[in-house]
């Protein structure tokens, strides 16, 4: 069996041949497209390390069959920075030491980007703790993660405000 699907991955249209219906989005990215930034921690949707955005929504890519995603827009950790300029969430994770070993970090960051974009948890650390709880960090960098999400949320809101004013003018 071979199936051809179209994906837009980090803004780039791709036609992907899938020769095996068992291939998950995670394994497609990691093993067939050489995009290894997204990590496999459990392969069961229990740890969040494989979180990516599909059509703007946070999903566990290990639980999603690639063949079911024809036409989807996929954003991974590799697609966040613009050249050498880090996304606000990425920069905030560094500034607040929101990681140690770094293995869960791509998933944490994608979850944070997703929940900020969805307008959740504005400035409320307790809500952020709750909403980030699908992403396990065994090193225990949680305090830095919450600080980073709070700051990034503010940075992005300020940016949006500036952009809004510019557009209105």
């Amino acid at each position: 069996m071979s199936l051809s699907i179209s994906l837009v991955i980090n803004g780039e249209p791709r036609t992907v041949q899938i020769d095996d219906p068992r291939v998950t989005l995670l394994d497609l990215l990691r093993e067939r497209l050489d995009m290894t930034g997204t990590k496999k921690g459990c392969d069961r949707g229990q740890c969040g390390a494989c979180t990516v955005l599909v059509d703007g929504r946070r999903i566990n890519s290990c639980l999603s069959l690639a063949a079911s995603l024809d036409g989807a827009r996929v954003t991974t950790i590799e697609g966040l920075a613009e050249g050498d300029t880090l996304h606000a969430v990425q920069a905030a994770f560094i500034a607040h030491d929101g990681f140690q070993c770094g293995y869960c970090t791509p998933g944490q960051i994608m979850s944070a980007v997703g929940l900020i974009a969805e307008g959740h948890a504005n400035g409320d650390p307790e809500r952020i703790r709750e909403l980030m709880s699908g992403n396990i960090c065994r090193c225990g960098a949680y305090q830095g993660i919450v600080e980073a999400v709070l700051e990034a949320q503010k940075t992005l809101a300020d940016q949006a405000g500036r952009d809004g004013r510019r557009n209105a003018a």
Binding site: G37, F99, G102, I136, C139, Y142, Q143
Partner: protein, 760 residues
């Protein structure tokens, strides 16, 4: 209440340098937040095959058949390794590999000794085919009854505990101590099997070139492991190249060789193609170590003033049926509290489980959990505040030996932690505090302690004519921040800005950085880098002083200091010379120096060396449902000189979160009928998620240690667990009046008024 999200980096370190001591952000930060940090399983050499091992579904018995034909018939499957065709190894896997290696299961026969033991390895063109092939093997077994706990395991006299520690240590006359006691408290404590569960599953990508092999794998002990793999494969150690630039968490589980990784390397040699193997999450519950269960008894004698007269700590520590790693839990009672008599003893218990191994604070964590609760129970019996009780039993010198501590700022830890937490005014009696929602509130504390090991290490420092430097050691960054902190130490020794220092690490071919374990890596590899840097500076100084064109010419008996890429005449900043000028006048493109570093045995013999701390916890307990939440956690730690306070704070937080986990969450639940772990996944084996963790504070208490090593650096990676577990358990008692003596503390134990393993 403490500030909501941001706690300050509390205190400056005593010794400041230009680089070491600064809270730099991680040098590997950009790589990690962009997905460009390369972990083992991210490698994909040309022609690579995928290996998946089939793990036993029984705990004890024999494999009687495997449907190899069905697996091989599956499209994409290339080979199936079983005991029938597994190529030979040069080292007997049933013999221990010196110095620390365990016996491993690599298809040497049909015996099964634990669940998830490899019983076959399927190699295929794709991950999907290898996974399916392993599922098609349909193993049949003869099953023997599994030994799962204290009721059916086989007890034995221990020869040693931990990594080579004696099973029994006695100071003073324990019976005389109890005879002199006004009060004796005695209780039993149970700690469960726990699994490291690093976020990155164990993985290897193995590629052979003749009799040389390159291994991309997460590894905490590069040089040692390279030698061990070489012994298994009958090749010289220098033919094994291990690349481990990033580990997705280790916690002790990636320090030892394990069966699945050896099998994958063997398959790569057999099939003459690179092979990748990554364990599934479930497969990490068996062949890659865990923290063994303990059953501990503590007997504490006190006099009328609340001072200890005797401390007797016994542990029954579980291990596997075929190898010995006994959690040295009782040894936690040796270094901490002054008592005229201390006796610690261990006994082994054989279970049909994978062999336990070191897991973050091995022995210290489980032993401290029991000891700190036992101390609290003794304080309660004496009618004393738990902190006052600990201060009354403060050890000025090492208990038993009388050796001075190399440094010990524990009184400062108690004082600063208690002040920040607001400990004063805590009611002595339990069940006296409620919050506005009616939850029971309790405050508890515990003392943290961890030894300061030092591993031999080597390093090389190269000064370059362009004013930059290269420093090299096979260090390991598993999240603690070696890429950053070790570079800071090297930059300071070289008198250079860290941005001018290129740091090569994480590869076994570099000078040995020793072991990333025992909270000793920064001190061990750091001292080697420091020494190499100093040697390079000394050689550079000699060049300058012998050069008539140098402002430093002829000043050999005065000496120089290195700062900002220049050598300055000591106490005379008007005479200096830049590294670049010295080297270029000498016609040298670079100047390299090496160094070895180890602890001075005389200094070590004369001093007891430990990091210390005090942890204060607040819990809230639902009075009807027994649900427990940690609502505040304050730790104050003294660990010598702090190289990077930002990273150290993160290490303390991580350790304290492991303490929450130990106290309230982690347990591998074994089915007593089958020996299978019933919760071998991250949904059912609970580790803290973000919402489980309250606002925390870690106070960095200044401490100057002139003896522990020339850098004055102690360890910070493991101490955070110790103290925290007991603090939480004691807070639960203070909230509820119930002493929970088995971990994790369960709702049913609170509702039932406490339980011990004897009653279970």
């Amino acid at each position: 209440m403490p500030p909501e999200a941001s706690s300050p980096i509390s205190a400056p370190t005593v010794r400041h340098g230009s680089n070491a001591g600064q809270p730099l952000t991680r040098r590997d930060g950009v790589l990690k937040v962009t997905g460009r940090a390369t972990y083992a399983a991210d490698n994909h050499p040309q022609g690579m095959l995928y290996a998946v091992f089939a793990g036993s579904r029984i705990a004890r018995g024999r494999v009687t058949s495997l449907d190899v034909a069905a697996a091989k018939a599956h499209p994409g499957v290339v080979e199936v390794l079983t005991p029938a065709n597994r190529p030979p190894l040069a080292h007997d896997p049933d013999k221990k590999m010196p110095p620390f290696g365990f016996r491993v299961d690599v298809l040497q026969d049909d015996r099964v000794r634990y669940v998830n033991q490899p019983i076959a390895l399927v190699v295929a063109e794709t991950l999907e085919a290898a996974t399916e092939g392993a599922a098609l093997l349909d193993p049949q077994y003869t099953v023997e009854r599994a030994r799962t706990d204290l009721s059916n395991g086989e007890r034995f006299a221990a020869n040693g505990v931990g990594v080579g520690a004696p099973p029994r240590t006695a100071h003073g006359d324990i019976e005389a101590g109890f005879a002199a006691a006004a009060r004796i408290t005695e209780a039993e404590y149970e700690t469960p099997a726990q699994y490291h569960n690093a976020m990155e599953p164990h993985a290897v990508v193995a590629e052979w070139d003749g009799d040389r092999v390159t291994l991309d794998m997460p590894n905490q002990a590069l040089s040692l492991s390279a030698a061990s793999y070489a012994a298994y494969f009958g090749i010289p150690a220098e033919n094994v190249l291990i690349r481990s630039p990033f580990l997705g968490g280790g916690f002790g589980s990636k320090a030892m060789l394990n069966g699945p990784q050896i099998l994958a390397i063997l398959a790569a040699r057999m099939l003459k193609r690179p092979v990748k193997l990554a364990l599934t999450r479930a497969q990490m519950y068996g062949p890659v170590g865990h923290r063994g269960a303990t059953w501990q008894t503590l007997r504490v004698g006190t006099d009328d003033g609340g001072r200890l007269t005797a401390l007797h700590h016994r542990s029954i520590s579980a291990t596997s049926s075929f190898d010995d790693f006994l959690e040295p839990a009782a040894n936690a009672s040796l270094p901490l509290y002054a008592s005229p008599a201390i006796l610690v003893e261990h006994e082994g218990l054989r279970l049909d489980t994978g062999t336990p191994g070191p897991m973050r604070a091995p022995g210290e964590a489980s032993g401290s959990a029991a000891l700190e609760v036992a101390l609290d129970e003794a304080a309660e019996a004496c009618g004393m505040d738990p902190l006052d009780f600990r201060l009354a039993n403060y050890a000025q010198t090492e208990p038993g030996t009388g050796r001075p501590f190399s440094s010990k700022a524990l009184r400062d830890c108690y004082a600063q932690g208690a002040a920040r937490f607001g400990w004063a005014g805590r009611p002595l009696e339990p069940r006296r505090m409620r919050d506005k929602d009616g939850f029971l509130v309790g405050w508890g504390m515990g003392t943290a302690v961890f030894p300061c090991p030092h591993f031999p290490a080597e390093a090389r420092a190269t000064l370059r004519a362009d004013g930059t430097a290269l420093v090299e050691t096979s260090g390991v960054d598993m999240g603690q921040g070696a890429w950053t902190a070790l570079a800071q130490i090297a930059a300071e020794a070289l008198g250079l800005d860290p941005d001018k220092v290129e740091f090569h690490s994480g590869v076994s071919s570099l000078p040995s950085g020793g072991i990333a374990g025992g909270s000793g890596h920064t001190a061990s590899a750091g001292l080697a880098l420091h020494n190499a840097g100093q040697n390079a500076i000394a050689e550079l100084g000699a060049l300058a002083m012998a050069d008539p064109a140098s402002p430093l010419f002829g000043t050999g008996n005065i000496g120089v200091t290195a700062r900002d890429g220049r050598l300055y005449l000591r106490d005379d900043d008007s005479r200096s010379d830049s590294y670049a000028d010295i080297l270029s006048r000498a016609g040298r493109a670079e100047l390299a120096a090496t160094a070895k570093a180890a602890r001075d045995p005389a200094v070590a013999a004369a001093h007891a060396m430990f990091s210390h701390g005090a942890v204060f916890a607040e819990v809230k307990v639902d009075p009807d449902l027994g649900q427990i939440r940690v609502s505040r956690l304050v730790g104050a730690f003294a660990a010598g000189r702090i190289i990077n306070p930002r990273l150290v704070r993160s290490q303390y937080f991580g350790g304290m979160i492991w303490g929450i986990s130990f106290a309230l969450q982690e347990v591998a639940a074994t089915d007593r009928r089958t020996g299978r772990i019933m919760n071998a996944d991250l949904a059912e084996y609970h580790v803290p998620v973000n919402a489980d963790v309250p606002p925390m504070e870690a106070i960095l208490v200044p401490e100057d240690d002139p003896y522990v090593n020339p850098l004055g650096v102690k360890g910070v990676g493991e101490i955070g667990i110790t103290g925290t577990v007991g603090a939480i358990a004691n807070a639960v008692w203070h909230a509820t009046g119930v002493r929970a003596r088995r971990f994790p503390i369960r709702i049913e134990d609170i509702l039932n008024g406490g339980a011990s393993f004897r009653a279970a």
